[in-house]
């Protein structure tokens, strides 16, 4: 049996001024075909103005088990949010 085309992750910029957003994945032999296929699979109704494709095997991802060590430290730093500080009403808008 012939080998499977590699998997690509597809990112679409929905409108000018917005970030590219992950929308899904697809198989394609190379980057050019991946963009062509992404146009047909993910933008049939004007969903995008720009497409990025990245080979799935090139994406490094954090593992769900690392969630604690990675994200808990910032939970303790509530002073990073402006609502941590009480500003008297007399001071006015800040």
């Amino acid at each position: 049996m012939s080998s499977e085309w590699p998997l690509w992750e597809v990112f679409i910029r929905g409108q000018h001024g917005l970030n590219h957003r992950h929308v899904g994945s697809l198989h394609a032999p190379d980057a050019e075909m991946a963009i062509n296929n992404a146009r047909d699979v993910y933008t049939r109704r004007n969903e995008g103005v720009s497409i990025w494709v990245v080979r799935s095997s090139d994406i490094a991802a954090s593992s769900p088990s690392e969630k604690g060590p990675l994200f808990e430290p910032s939970n303790a730093k509530v002073y990073r949010h402006p609502t941590f500080f009480d500003i008297p009403d007399e001071v006015g808008h800040m």
Partner: protein, 334 residues
């Protein structure tokens, strides 16, 4: 329903107290409405059931192109042809969204194709019926896509993230499918008596297979109970079928058509229609591969896969050659 009678491997649904701590915390997350994502721990049964359900759903979208594809070259106007082409293209897209969602569970695309082509994996029984006239294209959009929407709308809330997101994309596009079908029929019932008769004939042939799409009653099924506990199924088959009948009967009346069911009657007390039982022997025969078009549909998929092999290989060879050439140029430039 595009996934019918999906098995779960569960002898019965476990209570929270019977689960080990890992499975229990998994079930509690689902009970709280949290989404499960690809790399997270999940019970093997959950993974396997989802692979069965999502791949069956994907296969249905892909095979579902065939009965409608039959009419692309025979559409009555250029506009109808363009619309049908766009609709069939959407079905291909839906199949691809779903295959991708299934792949996140650790099965490859080729394995899924292999399961379809060998007959191991199923697809919806509905696509094993022939499309004899143009009115069938209208009836498929109206009834088959209508029944699919009934099933797919609740699946947007499915506990598995990638499946839920694929369903949200699909549901956005599905309403076009149902409306284009109904639009075909609205036009035809205003046509000649022969055209109107064609529509009634299409309804007569598609009504019962459409009701069968929801599958037999599953109120006593352990598989359904397990799937509901995992939130990969939200409503019982009978519940969805009832909703479908209640929604569709007034639409048939609008078209001036008669539903081919002598037992159909409004039940004031339950606020819904009473209706007859589909022929479940026919349903099981179609699932077993003995429907009017099973061999033709699978044959068409196998042929497309085999005939496309040289093309897939060719594109792979070209991509490898280009990559080697680029690597060579970069080395020369250093």
């Amino acid at each position: 329903m595009y996934a019918q009678m999906v098995k779960t491997d569960a002898p019965r649904v476990k209570t929270l107290d019977e689960m080990d701590p890992q499975e229990r915390s998994f079930q509690e997350r689902i009970d709280q409405g949290q989404k499960i994502e690809p790399k997270e721990w999940m019970p093997e049964g959950y993974r396997k059931t989802l692979i069965r359900q999502i791949s069956q759903h994907a296969h249905s979208e892909i095979v579902g192109q065939l009965p409608e594809g039959n009419w692309i070259t025979r559409a009555p106007t250029l506009e109808r042809k363009a619309i049908l082409l766009a609709k069939v293209q959407d079905e291909a897209g839906h199949g691809l969204y779903l295959y991708c969602a299934a792949e996140t569970l650790g099965i490859s695309r080729d394995e899924m194709y292999e399961q379809l082509h060998s007959g191991k994996a199923k697809y919806s029984s509905i696509f094993n019926y022939p499309t004899l006239t143009w009115a069938d294209i209208g009836a498929i959009g109206w009834l088959v896509d209508g029944a699919a929407i009934m099933n797919q709308v609740p699946l947007q809330r499915c506990s598995y993230g990638p499946y839920s997101r694929a369903m949200i994309r699909i549901c956005k596009e599905e309403s076009f499918h149902q409306r284009q079908g109904f639009d075909i029929l609205m036009k035809m019932v205003k046509g000649t008596p022969a055209q109107k008769a064609m529509v009634q004939d299409a309804l007569n042939r598609w009504w019962w297979p459409s009701l069968m799409m929801f599958g037999p009653s599953d109120d006593a099924s352990v598989h359904s109970a397990q799937s509901m506990a995992w939130k990969i199924k939200q409503n019982s088959n009978d519940e969805l079928r009832q909703k479908f009948v209640d929604q569709t009967v007034p639409q048939a009346e609008y078209l001036g058509l008669t539903i081919p069911d002598p037992k159909l009657e409004w039940n004031e007390e339950k606020g819904g229609y009473d209706f007859g039982e589909p022929d479940w022997n026919e349903f099981f025969e179609v699932l077993a591969g003995n429907g009017p078009c099973n061999a033709e549909r699978l044959g068409a998929r196998r042929k497309a896969w085999a005939d496309g092999a040289w093309f897939r290989d060719g594109l792979t060879a070209y991509a490898e050659k280009q990559a080697a050439r680029r690597a060579g140029n970069e080395a020369a430039a250093e």
